[in-house]
């Protein structure tokens, strides 16, 4: 049974024995996604064949792109004697077939449970090969009994940076490059973020960058590894960047990240921001970029912001006072709530499948105290819990990924699809969430969803608003 916790009365959900219709995925998925966003990289999962195949299938249904993720393919012998030999064979075969620029190894629950020492396997593999013949091999520990796909994602970003970032010579030129750690956002968002940063006259080392590898053009020639992605040498140079910008308020409230690592070891200032969703959070990103670059926000963005405000005023009556349920990764939920609070939509239920970290505390900051008693925050929940909360809350709309469709259908409440996965619509890669543009796109979809609902429910069927 779900229990809704009011912001005024924070508790965590008691651990029910079974998870039903999970609102989370396993950590190797997040790691594989990060490695898919690195130029010339091949992800390698250290575990059973099913791990890579299921994850590939799940990602393909969203991104609709080739998704080669290799596997060390444990057998019974491997589980008894350890996965060292399989790791070696897998690396040999990947190097032969793909000639990669990097191999990203992520463990699975099986490899972790039998206690495989993956860093040692990699060291031994290196010993057997002259160093100029081998690409970098990054490894990240991602047992699926710890955390969710988001932990896997952030851990892989951190492992890649700690594995590749090299010490910087003190007399090198001050770089015009910044490190950008966007979190798990859509390829369209990644492209937009890159454009924004470049418009401030800065170069970007954005990690990961699957904007092209997982949302690419048709091929004119066969590509063993799809082109695009963060260049390995750019990651290696991350320690000499002018600053790091990391997105995600929950992430910022948590443990070590790639940005804090670079700050600690390379003295690269870490700017830890929220996902730029809505006006204030995008303003913050723009201000930080102004500070870093010394360049004023380009007129283009002032105009985008102006058009957004104009649209919000034009449409404010269709949304103000409406009630929404929001679910997904904690950082995305926080971002959506940032925006909803700016247009008067009450996020009556905010749910996430992961532990949530500081989500509740962050939402408490975002939302006006007088509304705290009307907002429930659910962390560590599944879709059965969320459904129960939706039933009680009777919201006007639901905002989240495709896996909420069955409950939205059952309860006849419209669903605005955002985030990952979007398995039942085309264009999951092209959904915009970030920047003024993203807020504009989101606003139009939310307002139109509410209008459509009202129009469909009307006996009259007016053709004007």
């Amino acid at each position: 049974m779900a229990q809704a916790y009011r912001l005024n009365d924070l508790k965590t959900k008691p651990a029910a024995a079974a998870t039903q219709n999970a609102c989370k995925l396993c950590s190797p998925l997040g790691a594989a996604l990060v490695f898919k966003g690195i130029a010339g990289a091949v992800p390698l999962l250290h575990g059973s064949q099913g791990c890579s195949t299921y994850i590939r299938r799940y990602l393909i249904s969203h991104f609709k792109e080739p998704m080669d993720i290799a596997c060390t393919n444990f057998g019974e012998q491997t589980a008894i004697f350890g996965g060292g030999a399989n790791m070696k064979l897998a690396l040999d075969n990947i190097l032969t077939q793909y000639t990669p620029e990097m191999v990203g190894v992520a463990t699975t629950c099986l490899a972790e449970t039998i206690g495989d020492d993956v860093p040692m396997f990699i060291r031994e593999y290196r010993k057997g090969h002259p160093s100029d013949e081998l690409p970098p091999i990054v490894n990240v520990s991602t047992p699926s009994y710890q955390g969710t796909h988001m932990q896997g994602f952030h851990n892989a970003v951190l492992a890649t940076v700690t594995g590749l970032a090299q010490s910087v010579s003190p007399d090198s030129e001050p770089m015009s490059c910044i490190n950008l750690f966007p979190g798990m956002v859509s390829p369209e968002d990644l492209r937009h973020l890159k454009t924004i940063v470049e418009d401030f006259g800065l170069k970007t080392m954005m990690l990961p960058d699957y904007s092209q590898t997982l949302d690419g053009e048709l091929w004119s020639a066969y590509q063993r590894i799809p082109s695009g992605g963060t260049p390995v040498e750019a990651i290696a140079a991350a320690g000499s960047s002018r600053a790091s910008v990391e997105l995600g308020r929950v992430l910022a409230a948590g443990a070590e990240t790639a940005a804090t690592y670079l700050e600690e070891h390379f003295n690269v200032t870490a700017h830890r921001l929220g996902l730029p969703m809505g006006i204030r959070q995008t303003d913050r990103l723009m201000q930080v970029l102004e500070t870093i670059s010394g360049v004023e926000m380009p007129v283009k963005y002032a105009q985008e912001r102006g058009r957004l405000l104009d649209a919000l005023v034009d449409g404010h009556k269709y949304v103000n006072g409406r009630r929404a349920v929001v679910y997904g990764e904690a950082d995305l939920v926080a971002g959506v709530v940032d925006f909803l609070s700016e247009i008067g939509i009450m996020p009556v239920v905010c749910a996430t499948g992961d532990r949530g970290g500081q989500l509740a505390a962050i939402l408490k900051e975002t939302l006006d105290p007088k509304h705290h008693a009307r907002v429930s925050v659910l962390a560590g929940v599944d879709f059965v819990d969320i459904e129960e909360a939706v039933r009680q809350a009777k919201p006007d709309l639901i905002i989240g990924h495709s896996k909420g469709y069955s409950l939205a259908r059952k309860l006849d409440i419209p669903l605005v699809r955002i985030g990952f996965p979007i398995h039942d619509r085309v264009g999951g890669s092209r959904v915009q969430h970030l920047g003024y543009q993203g807020a504009q796109a989101l606003f139009d979809r939310i307002a139109n969803t509410l209008l459509e609902k009202r129009q469909a429910a009307s006996d009259v069927g007016y053709t004007y608003l």
Binding site: A18, T19, Q20, T53, K64, C109, Y145
Partner: protein, 452 residues
Amino acid sequence: MSTIPILKERRKQIYRKGEAPFEMSCDKHSLAGSVSQRACVFCGSRVVLYPIADALHLIHGPIGCAAYTWDIRGALSSGPQLHRLSFSTDLQEKEVIFGGEPKLYQALTELIDTYQPKAAFVYSTCIVGIIGDDVEAVCKKVGREKDIPVLAVHSEGFKGTKKDGYKAACDAMFQLVGTGATEDIAPASINILGEFNIGGEAWMIKKYYEQMGVQVVSVMTGDGRVDEIRRSHRAALNVVQCSGAMTFLAEMMKAKYGIPYIRVSYFGIEDMAKALYDVADHFSENPQIKARAQALVREEVNAIYPRLQEIREDLAGKKAAIYVGGAFKAFSLIRALRFFGMQVVLAGSQTGNSEDYETLRDMCDQGTVILDDANPLELSKYIIEKKADLFIGGVKERPIAYKLGIGFCDHNHERKIPLAGFKGMLHFAREIHTSVTSPVWQFVPFRQKEVR
């Protein structure tokens, strides 16, 4: 474009018709580092049992295995929808260290109380074997307490291939067989095995047999019900589709209950008709059954034939690649595609055995590439080389085809459109036709280059 290399260890799993024949290597664990399109033992069990709609399917392990198989297939139920939900013990680090049995017990108990299923299947995932949970004991205990069959499925992902998962599922189901009431079972009666009711296929096929005067005691597992499986041991004949998945159960039922089985396929006009005639022949003491089958085939074929002919005009001469789970499906597809005048230039499967590959070799045209347990690079290499116009496969093959500008037909369990049976043949034709005749291909750079 650089040549796509073939791994040394994989060479015996690739054969090109016309070359000196050798016994293809197959039925073995996938090669580490080769991006196999196969899944694991768990996947094999999950696909077989998935459509049993009034059973609880609890996946014992960390969350991934359950999350990735939630509502994954187009297997329809005419009643309960319990199979479309996803249940996991969602093991955390604590359970990995101290054992997952208490959580499994609690989860099973709670879920059975909530959903009142007719039986429960508990799937072991990779780490369950390693941490040493006695799943069997927990299942027995809960079964006694709740008075329903609670069956352990030994599907640890690494303990073999997808085929071993089929076997584990059959082992679990076999414990149900023979435990139900058997009144009202006619002499001319069958069980349909290996038919999963994707998009309602089992309903169509069941109706064909019933029209012939043959009673269908159970469908395993399409639109499946626990009580039907329990009484399936009194059917006169097992009719088994999909060579890999359920032959194990048919063998066990033959050994214990003396039920003979035949292998059939419901894809394509020829194979569908044969599946009806073979059953009719088995019940030849009643010649009416055969007569009704012939009338049925005539009527059904007449209904679809004119439209199929129209479609054939557009498809004739096109080249197709087939990569599917079981080789038996590939045989049917080759015959069905030949009906349209199409040429099969690549045929492969995830789980074929050496006999299957011999059959494929005999069926295929010169130059056709035959693949066992292929990877995306191999599939790409040969569809490029063979200039395929159409790829028939599953979700994982689709983006390979599309990136290269090749049409695609999803023939896997996730599809929502029935492709079996006579009407299914028409759907199949439309599916292929819709893809191959799309005007978008004219803009595709890869194909344009070929034409120049």
